[in-house]
């Protein structure tokens, strides 16, 4: 028995991560065009505070939800299972401190499980303490019924990933995956001659926000006549990323690296650095380690972002809703700037941890930088 179990364990290695992702909805030309337009649109709202800005000006009247404080804000969180969510969750807790009308923030962590999140939402509703429910859904389809159930009882605010219902007060998110993909790929198209070799590095298949980044980026690269030499999954693993890039470099020249997420960008840069190759055009993300490497080596690079300042917005929306003030709805679309050479210096802070996401919108908050792990 022990032997069989152990063999199964060993064979499991071969099967882990085996996903045959079908991606029927991840290549939508209309959404591609819409997001492309949003990238250059001028946002409404207070200047310099992108977490309060919005790109579409349809508002929802929330007078029906008006009530007296102090408010109990309940938050069903998909997980705090990656550095981006760690930064975002810190943003949200600090944002709560800016609102004296909030008496309590009740946070339940679904730890990346749909089932747990559905149960969490049920528990929060049954508890009866919540004035408003914020949900960051783990997956779209699975959480939709739970959110619909909650909508019947209290105002619901969704952010990050969406749900298939328009019952919530609003759905807060930045421009989106296509926009992210376009920003990086367009930079490559502008800086590499047609026919140049581009290696696309992806984390894993089947995740909606990552699939749209890829399809958005791929379209732009193909339209620019660039040669995509490969699209590889790195599992977000530094060692694997570095190995993959080394293997591609052994096979031929690479003029640009496009990535759907930047956590392993420095490992990819190091593959060029350690092998003594010319630095290609790089697409990273807004992590501090990549920004610092970019500056240190004088890379030709861009850092698109999925701004973590979007974690501040649900609290703002919740308070406005409970005060009966109008909020952008059905979607509150936040601007999604990319970090470029021109703005690089303003985002670098060597006192912050390597995977601190620079577009946190948190520099002006009271406990910055200590709450985010900075010195």
């Amino acid at each position: 028995m022990k032997k069989i179990l152990a063999l199964a364990l060993a064979a499991g290695l071969a099967l882990t991560g085996g996903t045959f992702a079908q991606a029927p909805n991840f290549d939508d030309p209309a959404e591609f065009a819409r997001q492309k337009e949003f990238l250059t649109a001028t946002p409404m709202g207070p200047e310099g505070m992108p977490w309060e800005q919005y790109l579409v000006e349809t508002m929802k009247d929330t007078a029906a939800f008006k009530k007296n404080g102090p408010y109990t804000v309940c938050f069903s969180n998909a997980g705090v299972n990656n550095p981006w969510r760690v930064v975002g969750w810190t943003n949200m807790q600090e944002e709560v401190k800016l609102h004296p009308e909030i008496g309590e923030l009740i946070h339940v962590d679904a730890e990346g499980s749909d089932d747990k999140q559905i149960a969490d939402i049920d528990d929060l509703l049954a508890g009866g303490k919540c004035s408003v429910l914020i949900v960051s859904p783990n997956t779209t389809a699975a959480l939709t019924p739970a959110v619909e159930k909650a909508c019947a009882v209290l105002p619901v605010i969704i952010f990050d990933r969406g749900v298939n219902t328009d019952c919530p007060v609003t759905f807060i998110h930045p421009v989106g995956g296509y926009g992210f993909g376009i920003q990086g790929a367009q930079f490559i198209a502008d800086n590499v001659k047609a026919g140049g070799n581009v290696l696309m590095l992806r984390i894993l298949p089947g995740v909606d926000v990552l699939e749209t980044r890829y399809s958005g980026g791929k379209h732009v690269l193909e339209d620019a006549g660039l040669n995509i030499v490969g699209a590889e999954f790195t599992d977000g693993d530094n060692a694997k990323t570095k190995s993959i890039v080394e293997d591609y470099l052994a096979r031929g020249k690479i003029d640009a690296i496009w990535m759907d997420a930047g956590a392993t960008a420095v490992a990819a840069v190091e593959a060029f650095e350690d092998g003594g190759y010319d630095m290609p055009v790089f697409v990273g993300e807004d992590q501090q380690d990549f920004l610092q490497k970019w500056k240190e080596l004088g890379l030709t690079a861009i850092a698109p972002a999925y701004p973590s300042y979007q974690w501040r917005t649900p609290i703002i929306a919740a308070v406005r809703t409970l005060k009966g003030e109008a909020v952008p709805s059905p979607e509150w679309i936040l601007p999604q700037p990319a970090i470029t050479q021109a703005t690089l210096d303003s985002f670098i802070n060597t006192d912050m941890p390597p995977l601190h996401y620079a577009l946190c919108g948190c520099e002006g908050m009271a406990n910055y930088p200590a709450a985010w792990g900075g010195k």
Binding site: A6, A239, K242, S243, R251, T264, G373
Partner: protein, 328 residues
């Protein structure tokens, strides 16, 4: 037991010398890689390959101690994560701290191995469960320590072992430090397993604990030492992986299974009593070669996973066949 302890008479009956099939599998894969990418025969090609495979090879060579003694060590992946995360926290961007941080990490390794061994020996918890519990615990410790995101960088002096290459050398031109570490630790682990009394006792308790006990082998002490060797090899692998690729909070995920797979590829018996350090290292190189070959082939990801799975099953099947022929 091992080949070198087989009775002489048994060996003389054979027509062909017994060579572990993992070496043939590895050779075939390397030929395939060279056909795909002739640049692999250049020093930078194969040295980069060895550098990348070194952490897994060392980890697997440690794991085989526990496997031969009749157990499993599933905690090694989490030890790697803890070493990388913990080192980045302790180093605190101070290159002068490298040496004492490395010492602390090996100290943690001894502690983890000791606890694993004590739990297995005295609390009688099966090693699969004991080390699984340790894995979950250590992942939690690493998460708590770092808050879920890396909090610092690894100094260049710390990354020396996994990242630095000596260049401009005669003949081989380039020599990664990781390859030197692999040679030194690989030989040390080989010597300890196959040239000392301790190695024979590890084989004995994995083969037949009762017989070993009756023969006077201090079972518990030997088993605990096997777990400590495995944990220490995980610390070494962690230092090299952190050096190779920098800080990440999930660096060790999956390494425990890869290490066990490498040992099985090298012909180790999962029930204990049999296993070889050099063949396990060859097994680790085989796993890395499969990965590299599939990169070079440029197949789409799903096809690659299918091929990877099939190659693995085939390789393990060959290893098992060989065991049948030798009557074990």
């Amino acid at each position: 037991m091992t080949d070198n302890t087989l009775p002489q008479a048994d060996r003389q009956k054979r027509q062909l010398p017994q060579v572990n099939p993992v070496y043939f599998v590895l050779a075939a894969l390397i030929v395939a890689i060279i056909l795909q990418n002739p640049a692999f025969v250049e020093p930078t090609g194969y040295m980069n390959f060895l550098k990348r495979a070194a952490p897994l090879a060392i980890l697997a060579a440690g794991q085989v101690y526990v496997i031969v003694s009749g157990g499993f060590d599933l905690s090694v992946g989490s030890v790697i994560t803890l070493v990388v995360v913990g080192s980045s926290m302790l180093l605190n961007n101070d290159p002068n701290a490298t040496w004492w941080v490395i010492a602390v990490m090996f100290g943690i390794g001894i502690g983890v191995g000791l606890i694993n061994g004590l739990v297995v020996c005295y609390l009688k918890v099966p090693s699969l469960i004991a080390t699984l519990g340790m894995m979950i615990t250590l992942n939690g410790v690493a998460f708590m320590w770092s808050g879920g995101a890396p909090r610092g960088y690894l100094a260049d002096s710390f990354r020396f072992f996994g990242r630095y290459n000596f260049t401009d050398l005669p003949v081989i031109r380039i020599l990664p430090v990781a390859v030197i570490v692999l040679l030194v630790l690989g030989y040390a682990l080989y010597w300890l397993m196959h040239r000392t009394n301790l190695g024979r006792m590890i084989h004995a308790i994995g083969d037949n604990p009762r017989a070993a006990n009756l023969a006077g082998v201090p079972i518990n002490r030997v088993r605990i030492i096997a777990f400590i060797v495995s944990s220490l090899s995980a610390v070494a692998a962690g230092i090299m992986l952190g050096g190779f690729a920098g800080v990440s909070t999930d660096v060790g995920i999956g390494y425990e299974l890869q290490a066990i797979t490498a040992a099985v590829l090298g012909g180790a018996l999962l029930l204990g009593g049999r296993g070889s350090v050099p063949a396990t290292i060859a097994g680790a190189l085989t796993l890395s070669a499969i990965f590299t070959l599939l990169n070079f082939l440029g197949l789409p990801q799903p096809v690659r996973q299918i091929v990877q799975g099939l190659i693995l099953i085939a390789a393990v099947a060959i290893a098992v066949q060989r065991r049948k022929h030798t009557g074990r």
